[in-house]
Symmetry: C2
């Protein structure tokens, strides 16, 4: 039985980043950038006015100027500044060579003339002050966010090279499962893991196929044929179902690396690999399944994208006591500005906490006292 | 000039929730549930074994039993328990009436007989122990997350009623703008706000249309014709451009509610409404634009979805000093487990911090000392 940290370490060491491909910029949010993106020009590319105001020659000691024209943003004209003359200038407009920009608020205009009351503080954003041409502005390995999209656009990088979309096959197994849209008969339960995995894969932009089979080794063997980045098998919760998944994966040439993890819920987790293909046998119990997706499968995904499997562990304080257990626990909770509020969670089968849980709190064997600091992850 | 809190209050009071519609469950993540979802059956719907083991009559005092069969998960058979006899039972399987489940680990099986070493701790999840039929399990107003999708599936709610998809029209204005894919001429800059808004809208599942027009009131008037939930106009950064947006909105029948906000960056923000349609005139400066999207437009969106505009303010500690300013500042930062690390940010035009910023830290006029607690929001 491996610990949580051992499983993370194994994934960090063994799961490697997939190839890169170019994508359309507005679809790149969430992907990992795989090349350094440099400024192709200085940023800003020219001296820009930082305010609306007037521009005059910096070394012109006059106080009053004749207003002779306007420079608007986008105006590429080659204005020459002349002693005794001022041009109106808009924020973002190109500042002529030798110019000093004075804010509108520091001026008094009247009858074609302007009095500049405050000189010397030149309101110009200088060419190259944010980045020089050739400088790396967004480094390879950056997880692209919406703000990054804006920045890449400003650099003219409209087809960034990112880790390619990953393929996922998900197979739900179990004789007790009906579709979520069906009415279960006696002894049956609805398959809630398939919609969960579909939503999880959707927000991670995975290419997903899903199947459902009974607890039958032959059917499962058939269902998992083919190659993809990631294979998830949601098992039944029973030992027999766990053993079946393990045997089928081994027979298909997977090396079984983990068969149980010292974690609650989620102990009967299988991790296996076949070359660069990774398989997870997830416990069918919905809460265990949810925890394993967020704690382990996301770590593998992160490695496939960036080569770094470290889960995004944050630190926070529990708002009430949480009991310990021989195995470390990942407890469903809600993050408030004051701390982490653990949700009612009566048994590993109780998934009502998933209505609102947005975090999983790491609870050591010894338990957590209210106010104690601990690690947590955010779930999506 | 309004304060940030005043703008939030205005949005909270005036922006109302849109109609609801049914959506496919696996696409519901991120939407707001608009009806209470109740358990249609008890949860669990029947007494389920919590372990793999044996089931015997609870009041059968024998220590050794004849093993007479198996109950598998999904098995709906009506097993009758008989004194002196045990049935193997799998996790999740239906427990026959009067049964007591003993864990496999507490049993010794041999030659068709089983010795049960530990009695009295009945490993059964009782019918209705998580929720009773008719009980509200997911309340109206819940923001659906991936875990919620799993829970709704388990309840058979495969087409939840959520706030309908919202329509957005985005118009970027400014004579200085070129497409991000173009090479800017002298005085021009790439339009980075349109790809930013596209990515932002995508992650919020908005139906978006985008246009770009020059700084021309007639062109802008034409561009904004029609009705939608949300109209965003990314202005130039100049006073003229700000005035143009304000005039065009007023001429189109919008009531102008805000024309400036005491915030840095982002001061020249326009908020306007026309019936249930809301318009934001966003400053063209990319960082100001980013801040306004995350601090104000997201609050309006939240109201349209749930009737609650409160932004998700969290509390954290700054890892280094941040200087104050007469206007409150929202400073780009990165969230670490130790706290919030402010990024280098030299001027409101400098957007290089957007490479990695994942939070905006609220800095009061007096500034923030390293270690001081403050509010922040997470950006996407």
């Amino acid at each position: 039985m491996k610990t949580v940290d051992e499983v993370w370490q194994l994934l960090r060491r063994q799961v490697s980043a997939r190839e890169a491909e170019e994508v359309e910029l507005s679809h790149a949010s969430g992907a990992v950038l795989r090349e350094d993106v440099r400024a192709t020009e200085d940023q800003p590319a020219f001296d820009r006015s930082a305010v609306d105001g007037f521009v005059v020659l910096a070394n012109d000691a006059c106080e009053e100027f004749a207003v002779v024209g306007n420079i608007r943003a986008g105006d590429g004209g080659n204005y020459e500044l002349v002693r005794g003359q001022a041009l109106r200038i808009a924020t973002g407009a190109l500042v002529p060579v030798g110019g000093e920009v004075v804010m509108l608020e520091d001026s008094t205009e009247s009858g074609g003339r302007v009095l500049l009351n405050k000189r010397g503080r030149n309101h110009v954003r200088r060419r190259g002050e944010d980045a020089k041409a050739g400088e790396v502005v967004v480094a390879a390995g950056t997880a692209i966010r919406e703000g990054t999209v804006g920045l890449l656009a400003s650099l003219g990088c409209v087809r960034p090279k990112v880790t390619r979309a990953l393929d996922l096959l998900h197979v739900a197994t179990g004789n007790e499962l009906t579709g979520a849209e069906e009415k279960p008969s006696a002894g049956q339960v609805r398959d809630s893991n398939s919609p969960l995995v579909a939503a999880w894969a959707r927000s991670r932009a995975l290419r997903i196929r899903q199947k459902r089979v009974g607890e039958d080794a032959d059917a499962l063997s058939l269902a998992i044929e083919g190659h993809r980045d990631l294979l998830l098998i949601s098992g039944g919760a029973s030992v027999g179902s766990h053993d079946c998944t393990e045997k089928v994966l081994a027979a298909a040439g997977f090396e079984i690396l983990v068969t149980n993890v010292a974690v609650r819920p989620g102990k009967p987790l299988i991790v296996a690999r076949r070359g660069d293909e990774w398989a997870f046998g997830l416990p069918g119990n919905p809460l265990s399944h949810f925890v394993c997706l967020n704690v382990f499968v996301d770590a593998a995904l992160s490695s496939m994208r960036s080569g770094q499997a470290a889960p995004a562990l944050l630190k926070g304080r529990a708002l009430s006591d949480i009991a310990g257990n021989p195995r470390e626990t990942w407890w469903p909770a809600v993050e408030h500005s004051e701390g982490l509020r653990p949700l009612r969670w009566t048994s590993s089968g109780d998934l009502t906490s998933l209505a609102v849980a947005d975090t999983l709190v790491r609870v050591p064997s010894s338990g957590l006292a209210a106010g104690a600091e601990t690690e947590f992850i955010r779930t999506t």
